[in-house]
């Protein structure tokens, strides 16, 4: 970059920062006015604020449930970084999330803010149990987005309480907090559960995207090997599902995948995308030396590389041949 370009860049950035600073100052003025009005209104309603929050316009506005959503959510967006270090801010967010009478939009914004705060691991430690408690409360919340978010976060942590709720729901022993397909996939994130029967159910009944997810998770279960091979070979199945099935088969049984992938990649009647995915995996992963040592396969690749009826496959075949180690 030339010096002039750098100078222009610096000037541009300074201008941006001045504008941002001005906008921020404007926002702080407006916030102060909103906070003043809020205090007055609360005073007239004879509602008090905890003393240490009373002077802080951000906290005053954030905790006033009679205000519209927008100024409250703006507090989170504009001032969240500086507020995030304060215990009372986290506690206020927890209170908002748990308050079912509060606005769903503000509650969702507060939940996102809590998730962001949770990344500050050392600072967040004292709040972790209360955060988990709030998430557990949300599992039965009437707002679907909050319910779904909480169940998703807890399930990803392999939370046994939410897992049990989902399992009971799938068995018909209780209500499901999320749709059935989502419940199965959330449980599938924990490979120490007995998920294979649910995944098979999902594969039989789901959309293409859901079938792709189900075969993805089947890759954690050695008992699913033959199923995955069958799906990979199934020319009636969608490209994307077959490709994922191949990846899952390779994960469980790389030798078996290698054999099947070689067949498919040289089958000129098969789907080009699936053939391409097989070839890509063969040339880059695992024991590539063994792949190249298979002279019959390499010979078939030479035919494939010249087959312009499947140009993408031909291209990948040529790449494979170019990478062949010198003999």
């Amino acid at each position: 970059m030339s010096e002039q370009a750098a100078q222009r860049l610096e000037e541009e950035l300074r201008r941006e920062l001045r504008e941002a600073q001005a906008a921020h100052s404007q926002y702080l003025s407006e916030l102060e006015a909103t906070a003043e009005a809020s205090r007055a209104a609360r005073s007239s309603r004879e509602e008090g604020l905890p003393g240490d929050l009373d002077d802080d316009p951000a906290m005053t506005v954030l905790t006033d449930t009679s205000l519209p959503d927008e100024p409250r959510i703006q507090v989170l967006h504009q001032l969240g970084p500086s507020l995030s270090r304060r215990d009372e801010f986290i506690e206020a967010l927890l209170a908002i999330v748990k308050d079912r009478s509060d606005s769903p939009a503000v509650r969702e914004a507060a939940l996102q803010a809590l998730g962001s705060a949770a990344f500050q691991v050392l600072r967040f430690r004292p709040h972790q149990p209360a955060y988990d408690d709030a998430l557990h409360d949300l599992v039965a919340d009437p707002v679907p987005a909050l319910r779904e978010a909480a169940v998703g976060i807890l399930a990803q942590q392999h939370d046994p309480v939410v897992q049990e709720t989902l399992i009971q729901g799938l068995r018909g022993e209780g209500s499901l907090p999320v749709e059935r397909e989502r419940a199965i996939l959330l449980l599938a994130e924990d490979d120490h559960l007995d998920n294979l029967p649910w995944l098979r159910e999902l594969y039989r009944s789901g959309s293409e995207s859901v079938r792709e997810q189900s075969v993805r998770f089947m890759g954690s279960y050695p008992d699913a090997r033959s199923t995955l091979e069958g799906i990979l070979r199934d020319k009636n199945e969608s490209t994307s599902v077959r490709q994922q099935s191949g990846a899952s088969l390779r994960h469980l049984a790389p030798d078996r995948f290698e054999a099947v992938a070689k067949e498919i990649s040289t089958d000129t009647t098969d789907d080009p995308e699936v053939r391409t995915a097989c070839l890509t995996a063969l040339q880059h992963l695992g024991d590539t030396a063994r792949v190249y040592a298979d002279t019959e396969f390499v010979h078939r690749m030479q035919d494939v590389s010249g087959d312009e009826s499947a140009p993408q496959v031909a291209q990948v075949a040529r790449e494979l041949l170019e990478r062949r180690p010198d003999l």
Binding site: R123, R125, P126, H136, V139, D190, D191, L193
Partner: protein
């Protein structure tokens, strides 16, 4: 009472625990439910196992804690990473009036293990629905148990004093419990007052290791007397490079150490730590010129999933140097044989391990178990010490390993 079976619903097992906690002979029957390799635990998920274990351990607070149950309690404190199980162990420990050796250290270790991972739990009933009527947290129960032992846990109080001032680390309920225990202990507890601002480990404060944790050579010792060869095993193995090996052939001719593990273990204080220590042991042997004295091996509980490349990766990631006498194996046939030979404390859900203990074994040159380091934390020095006692260098008399009396 009807016998519990693998098909017994989880809630019925919970009900059995509740029934036993009120019976005179309850504590021994509860203890009999602890081994994870019992048939009643076959097919259950890891989550179920965690719930059952936590609830079972907590029940000992009502019945008293028998000696047979103590290792399980200490195990859950030392290696538990889920709040419910740790809480259950801490509660169950209150079935003792006097803390056994290593118990206080285990409690302090649990505080470190769960820092940042504490959670609300409840033992009001088995698997209660949320919200809990009687909530508590794991760390609250751990601290409460330190308080339960009173003056007998005095060694932990200076550390607790430091922790009680770390407001940025613990929730208010845990801090309150710490304060309550410290206030109950009275002034002047312990002579090692620590600077409240210090970071604990760097200013001479008492650490978990100093609290009398039993890291001696007191492994379970099989008889050191010569025995006839046991029935030869037919089990076949495959190593991290895909080479087949017969169990009988490999584990002969030289003593071996065998650790059991699996690559999908999600408890950082069990398998990952076991193999990390195995690598450290290997390095120590090298430093002492004993590299050729012992085969260093590990066997996976999960042979269907833990293919050779996964075995190699798991070991090398943790510092294991593979070689002729340093190998990881999966069992390709004869798994039940090995399971019985070692009395493996493992069980399985639908597709993988649902629970296991830490288990490391020293085998002699005939492949017989000479020493075991199971359930509780083991240290490299303890294994080296056992090695020296059991397999002395030529010219040294073989002695039975001698463990100092418990404090």
């Amino acid at each position: 009472m009807t016998a519990l079976k693998r098909s017994t619903p989880e809630t019925d097992v919970g009900a059995r625990i509740d029934a036993l906690r009120h019976l005179a002979q309850g504590r021994d029957e509860l203890a009999a439910l602890l081994p994870e390799n019992l048939p009643i635990y076959e097919g259950r998920s890891a989550a179920q196992m965690g719930r059952l274990r936590g609830y079972l351990l907590a029940a000992f607070a009502d019945t008293g804690l028998p000696d047979a149950a103590l290792p399980y309690v200490v195990e859950s404190l030392e290696t538990g990473h889920v709040a419910y199980e740790v809480a259950g162990a801490a509660i169950g420990l209150r079935g003792l009036k006097t803390p056994a050796a290593g118990v206080v250290a285990a409690l302090v270790r649990a505080i470190d293990n769960l820092s940042g991972a504490d959670a609300t739990v409840s033992f009001q009933s088995y698997n209660p629905a949320w919200p809990y009527a009687q909530p508590t947290t794991a760390l609250t129960e751990v601290v409460r148990t330190i308080g339960h032992f009173g003056v007998q846990a005095q060694a932990a109080l200076p550390r607790l004093e430091v922790l009680a001032q770390q407001r940025e680390r613990f929730s208010s309920s845990v801090l309150e419990e710490m304060r309550r225990v410290l206030d109950g202990a009275g002034p002047g507890h312990g002579e090692h007052a620590c600077d409240a601002a210090c970071a604990g480990e760097f200013c001479g404060c008492v650490s978990a290791v100093d609290l009398g944790s039993d890291d001696s050579c007191c492994a379970e010792m099989a008889s050191a007397e010569p025995v006839e060869d046991p029935t030869p095993m037919r089990a076949m193995l495959e190593d991290q490079d895909g080479r087949p090996e017969r169990f009988e052939e490999f584990f002969r001719g030289k003593p071996s150490i065998v650790a059991f593990f699996y690559t999908r273990c999600d408890n950082p204080y069990k398998c990952s730590l076991t193999i990390t220590k195995l690598a450290a042991l290997q390095a120590s042997l090298e430093e002492r010129g004993l590299a050729g004295a012992l085969k260093v091996t590990a066997i996976t509980y999960d042979p269907e999933f833990d293919l050779p490349h996964r075995l190699r990766l798991y070991g090398s990631d943790r510092g294991v140097q593979f070689g002729k006498d340093a190998r990881f194996f999966r069992i390709t046939s004869g798994f039940q044989e090995i399971r019985q030979r070692f009395h493996l404390s493992v069980n399985y859900g639908a597709s993988t391990v649902n629970r296991h203990q830490t288990e490391v074994y020293l085998l002699n040159e005939h492949g017989e178990i000479s020493a075991s380091f199971t359930r509780m934390r083991w240290e490299v020095e303890a294994v080296l010490s056992a090695l020296e006692h059991l397999f002395p260098k030529p010219g040294q008399a073989q002695e039975r390993a001698h463990c100092p009396p418990a404090p």
